[in-house]
């Protein structure tokens, strides 16, 4: 085999293309695995597995650093081996991982589950290890032209990220792995072409065909799943219904959408129990179940005659229609369409409905079955459709509405086994609430309904505090006590009504009568009195529910302070069977539950002042949602984190958040181990002559942390304009990497004056990021109202300046290391960068939930500022081997 490639000077175009495609294949594999986890189990475990798998780069760096000379001697074989292994490994490991699914909800109770999780980690680690080995060896060989190789790496990764986004239209999640496989094949062929290695070319084609065959045929032949969907995902239950039929299926970047039909599906979210005794009939066979990435169901409501929709009156979302006749209504989120159906059947003269997920609009507008089933609801003459986020539309429209509805936009319920991942809920932020309130006509009503299935209450307290804060923003801090009406149903739903010009006594009377008729609990209305004496005990009891240190209480024993306390419900009081059936005179007083009382107290202190003190003493974090912290998550207060470690089963819905901390902890230990391994191993040998080790480590640590923190943080930020996490991630990944790649390429011409030029770059990066941290959401808010293609274009434009400059520091420093002959440090630096990227990615959601998204970008900005002085350690020349000699000149 003849080697025609000269990596030190003029590598051929095929070489750069190969690097770009294989690097792109690694990104594509990451995205593909994330999709597999989203659909099969839970996305946040996908993040964990993928994050940790990226340590493949750290491990490769550590090993290559120690065995550098071996890799230099066997570099062709190493690259060939890594390339030929990468494709088959991604297919086989993915398939194998599907055969050892782990279940998040048994992670604590079943000792086997953590081994399954470990197996998933190891299996997904292997392909990344092969990919990292390919890149590592090439970087080592091409260190003198690192800027260009790095350019190919970044641009390839970026463009392939976008390719995967498009591939999501072509392949379902279970076949999406074909995208990285094809990219790998193309990259592999180009590599062997660059080397003029025909046998290698033939080999990789054969291996690729075999890999694709294994992916497509092995599951059938072996009767094993290609993508194992957990039995505990919503769609798995639907699939078990005897008469279940999938009536719609579509894969796209906006999620894998499935719609099932079954007589076993029933939807009436939050319906009053009293419907049972007052309604002639509930409709049957009237629903379809909508599942996105196997999560759901969200109910799709059949177009029904009036007598079958009488039950709408028993839903909490019906409240505003008690006050408003023939209203002009705005529905913030279409979802499965129930709010729109209720608005139409409740007499709305016109309904404007927004939906930020274009795939859902396509389904309801174009699929014949869904159109027939829903009475073609989106083409109803009374319905106007806004094809982007409702909160963005409302913030910029001049239209005003009598009713604005934001109801239960989150499918069947808040309780999800496996915990919630940290998801941005911009529709519920203080800014969004203010926008809804401002878009009301003078007598208009905003109605927000949320699941109230948590005990102790968490989400609803955040909602209450957010809406009160928004009302103060809108009304200029004036008295807002007349403007709210709040009801809830225990372990069901909570509804907050806000009326722009306040509720009249007659309206309050009407609403109270309805609340009573529904057996809902009154939480607040103007004039509502609450006994604040209960507060202290409730706060203490809720804390004790998790951290009680004494003896178990006897539920049958009367409490000391309540000598006549009744025994626990259901315990006989000595009467004969049936004694409890005795009819009472008039309805008995509604039982009082602490969660309900706490809701009442919350409104008292929110309106009268003093809520902050209550919130400080409450066991969970109830800070409001803002565009900077748009999370219904992370309720555990940071100081309490360690106290929960031996009672995790009590906060299972917080596991998604706790997993972030676990990821950060594991990532930190791994990263430090991998980074320090070569140092300890070669302290007296390979590193002995290298000056500025600490500074160099700090430099690449800052770059690794800074780059990923800005990238991931901006993904969350840009959802404000792009409305969808997957699209935002793709746009940001592509934009950041491609522009940084261009920066990398461009940086080559400043190498000779790096010492004076780079400080300016760092200062510029810092200045831009610091400015973005506090201003970007205003720009994104406006961009979000534009046509989608223009939105993407403008987002890319915003990304360009920092991303371009952030492409300078890494290749400049790496090339300097190469030219200074600090070969081991070159590899080590690459590893540090990789390892701290993993830590940075894990750090983002923790900083975001604790301090807000601007803080995330600021952390990134400061990382680049700290890198400025550290840069001078990187460019310290090598100490001469003999003592007393002159320092070698900088190359």
């Amino acid at each position: 085999m003849s080697i025609t490639v000269d990596l030190d000077h003029r590598p051929p175009l095929a070489f750069y293309l190969s690097v770009g495609l294989v690097a792109g294949s690694i990104i594509a594999l990451q995205i593909g695995i994330m999709r597999v986890f989203s659909v099969g189990s839970w996305a946040h475990f996908g993040s964990l597995v993928v994050s940790l798998a990226m340590f493949g780069f750290g491990l490769t760096s550590a090993v290559m650093c120690v065995g550098k000379s071996w890799f230099e001697r066997h570099w062709i074989g190493s690259v060939k081996g890594a390339l030929l292994a990468f494709g088959p490994l991604m297919v086989v490991c993915n398939l194998a991982a599907q055969q050892v699914p782990f279940n998040a909800i048994f992670l604590i109770s079943d000792p086997m589950q953590k081994w399954r999780l470990f197996a998933n980690f190891v299996l997904y680690f292997l392909p990344f290890l092969a990919g990292a080995l390919y890149l590592g060896v090439i970087f080592l060989k091409a260190q003198k032209t690192f800027n260009r190789v790095y350019f190919a790496d970044l641009v390839g990764s970026g463009l392939c990220g976008l390719t995967v986004l498009l591939a999501m239209y072509a392949w379902r999640p279970d076949d999406l792995i074909m995208a990285p496989l094809l990219l790998w094949l193309a990259g592999g062929i180009l590599w062997f072409v660059a080397l003029g290695d025909r046998r290698g070319t033939a080999a990789i084609v054969v291996v690729a065909i075999l890999s694709a065959a294994v992916h497509h045929l092995a599951p059938q032949l072996l009767s094993v799943p290609k993508l194992a969907v957990s039995d505990y995902k919503g769609v798995s239950y639907a699939r078990k219904f005897p008469d279940a039929v999938r009536v719609y299926e579509r894969a796209s970047p906006f999620g894998y959408i499935e719609v099932y039909s079954s007589s076993y599906l029933h939807f009436a979210p939050g319906q009053s129990d009293n419907a049972a005794f007052n309604l002639k009939k509930m409709p049957s066979n009237a629903y379809l179940g909508l599942y996105i990435d196997s999560e759901g169901p969200a109910g799709i409501i059949k177009d029904l005659p009036a007598d079958e929709t009488a039950y709408f009156k028993y839903l909490p979302m019906y409240y505003p229609y008690l006050l408003k006749k023939d209203p002009k209504t705005f529905v913030v989120q279409f979802g499965g369409g129930i709010s729109t159906a209720v608005a139409l059947k409740s007499g709305s003269s016109q309904v404007t409905v927004a939906e930020g997920n274009p795939a859902l609009l396509t389904a309801f507008r174009e699929d014949k079955f869904l159109r027939d089933f829903t009475g073609d609801i989106l083409n109803n003459p009374k319905v106007n459709v806004v094809d982007y986020d409702g909160r963005l539309y409302v913030a910029h429209t001049k239209n005003r509405y009598d009713v604005i509805d934001l109801s239960l936009a989150d499918s069947a319920g808040l309780s999800s086994p496996g915990g919630f991942s940290i998801v941005e809920k911009y529709s519920y932020s203080r800014e969004a609430m203010s926008a809804y309130m401002r878009a009301l006509t003078p007598g208009g009503v905003l109605s927000v309904t949320l699941w109230n299935k948590e005990e102790p209450p968490k989400s609803v307290l955040k909602l209450y505090a957010t809406m009160a804060a928004a009302a103060r923003d809108v009304d200029g801090g004036k008295d807002i006590a007349q403007k709210f009406y709040v009801v809830s149903s225990y372990l069901s739903t909570a509804t907050v009504l806000y009326k722009r010009d306040g509720f009249s006594p007659a309206e309050i009377e009407l609403l109270n009568a309805h609340t009573k008729a529904m057996s809902f609990d009154e939480i607040y209305y103007p004039g509502f009195k609450v006994d604040t004496a209960d507060l202290k005990q409730i706060l203490q009891d809720y804390r004790d529910q998790f951290f009680f240190a004494g003896q178990a209480v006897d539920p049958t024993a009367p409490a000391e302070t309540e000598p006549n306390d009744k025994p626990p419900p259901g315990v006989s009081t000595g009467g004969a069977p049936g004694a409890t059936e005795a009819k009472v005179d008039g309805p008995p007083p509604a039982p009082v539950v602490p969660a309900t009382v706490l809701g009442r107290l919350a409104w008292h202190y929110l309106l009268e002042g003093g809520w902050q003190k209550v919130a400080d003493e409450y066991v969970f974090d109830t800070r409001i949602l803002t565009n900077h912290q748009p999370y219904f998550a992370a309720y555990i207060k940071v100081p309490d984190l360690l106290k929960f470690t031996d009672r995790l089963e009590l906060v299972q819905d917080e596991w998604g958040y706790l997993l972030l901390w676990a990821t950060l902890g594991i990532a930190t230990v791994f990263a430090l181990t991998l980074v320090l391994f070569p140092v300890v191993f070669g302290w007296r040998t390979i590193f002995s002559r290298y000056p500025g080790k600490a500074g160099t480590m700090l430099y690449f640590l800052c770059l690794g942390l800074g780059y990923i923190i800005v990238e991931v943080g901006m993904i969350s930020h840009f959802i404000l304009a792009l409305s969808n996490a997957t699209v935002s991630a793709s746009v940001l990944i592509t934009g950041m990497l491609v522009f940084s790649g261009m920066g990398s390429f461009f940086s080559e011409r400043f190498l000779d004056r790096a010492r004076s030029f780079m400080p300016k770059v760092f200062l510029a990066i810092f200045a831009i990021l610091a400015t973005y941290a506090f201003t970007i959401d205003y720009a994104l808010d406006w961009i979000g109202t534009l046509p989608y293609a223009l939105r993407i274009l403008l987002c890319l434009l915003i990304v360009f300046p920092p991303a371009f400059l952030m492409g300078f520091p890494m290749p400049t420093a790496m090339t300097m290391l190469g030219r200074l002959g600090k070969d081991h440090m070159f590899l080590w630096a690459w590893g540090i960068n990789g390892c701290f990227s993993v830590i940075g990615a894990a750090l983002v959601p923790i900083v975001a939930t604790s301090f807000g998204l601007p803080a995330v970008v600021l952390v990134g900005a400061f990382a680049y500022l700290i890198a400025l002085p550290a840069f001078f350690s990187v460019i310290m020349p090598l100490q001469p081997r003999a003592t007393g000699g002159a320092r070698s000149a900088v190359a």
Binding site: Q271, S572, P577, P587, V593
Partner: protein, 289 residues
């Protein structure tokens, strides 16, 4: 201790598997007069052994029983008796992965996306609905069958509905096998495969209803089939961290019907007490330490 449990448990399982094809009544048949001793572990095991049960599982049952009492998860005599008479190990035996874990404080995966709740939650649920002999109790979501097994020790009229057909068949088959074996109390259980949303109208009205499946509203047919003054309990939330909602139906003198919702502890917030791990007959620490 663990190893011995494992070995004898395995032997018992292997023996059970070998004996499976020809089930003879090896257990002393049920009667309302059966009263397992509650005074000591030895007496209970001796009594259970005489009934024909495995002493290893009897020991585990006793130990968990002590933990339940200590945690105040059960307190009524009838529920205590029901717990001591119910062979949880027979229900967990459907899967080798959980066969030996019946008495752990943990919810277990029984397949089909369904869990078998832990003994503490089931103890509380059973005690709190305080079933009297003769009362009609409907369970929505048969699952593993254990909850109805407890009910069967409290009343002759236990009804249970399962939506997932293969699971319903498996559990019904298990009841029948156990009846053949001598656990004749399971004759008290009427089971069917259907959509639990519609309840069991022909068998109603019911004194108590237990709903053990996820819902976005309480099905109206169930409220209709609940007697006035009756109560319904519904665990809400993820497995392992469930709160139990209690819905009471009341009819006023004027005939109007209302419902009220509350926590099963009637407004008391129950403090967390670290759950127990059993080592021998000692209760130590929390189960996941």
């Amino acid at each position: 201790m663990k190893r011995r449990t494992f070995v004898s448990g395995s032997v018992a399982l292997a023996a059970g598997a070998l004996a499976a094809p020809a089930i003879a009544a090896t257990i002393k048949p049920y009667s309302w007069d059966l009263n397992p001793p509650m005074d000591s572990r030895e007496n209970f095991i001796a009594w259970g052994k005489a009934r024909g049960e495995d002493p290893v599982f009897l020991g585990q049952r006793w130990d968990r029983f002590q933990a339940l009492i200590k945690n105040k998860d059960i307190w009524g005599q009838a529920t205590m008796r029901a717990f001591l008479l119910t062979p949880r190990e027979e229900f967990s035996a459907i899967s080798p992965a959980i066969a030996k874990r019946a008495y752990e404080h943990a919810f277990l995966d029984i397949g089909y996306g369904v869990t078998m709740s832990g003994p503490h939650v089931q103890g509380r649920m059973t005690n709190v609905i305080d079933v009297k002999r003769g009362e009609k109790v409907l369970e929505i979501g048969t699952g593993s069958g254990v909850q109805s097994a407890y009910i069967a020790n409290l009343t002759e009229n236990a009804y249970t509905i399962e939506i997932i057909a293969p699971l319903a068949q498996r559990t019904r088959g298990l009841y029948d096998k156990l009846i053949d074996k001598g656990y004749t109390e399971f004759k008290h259980i009427k089971a069917k495969t259907a959509d639990g949303f519609y309840g069991w109208e022909e068998a109603g009205p019911f004194d108590k209803i237990i709903v053990t499946c996820g819902i976005d509203h309480v099905p109206p047919p169930l409220l209709q089939q609940l007697k006035s003054g009756g109560l319904m309990v519904i665990p809400v939330g993820p497995p392992g961290a469930q709160r139990v909602l209690k819905v009471t139906k009341t009819q006023a003198a004027d005939g109007s019907i209302t419902t009220s919702r509350e926590d099963i502890y009637g407004g008391k917030i129950v403090p967390f007490v670290p759950f127990t791990k059993l080592e021998g007959d000692k209760i130590v620490g929390t189960h996941n330490r």
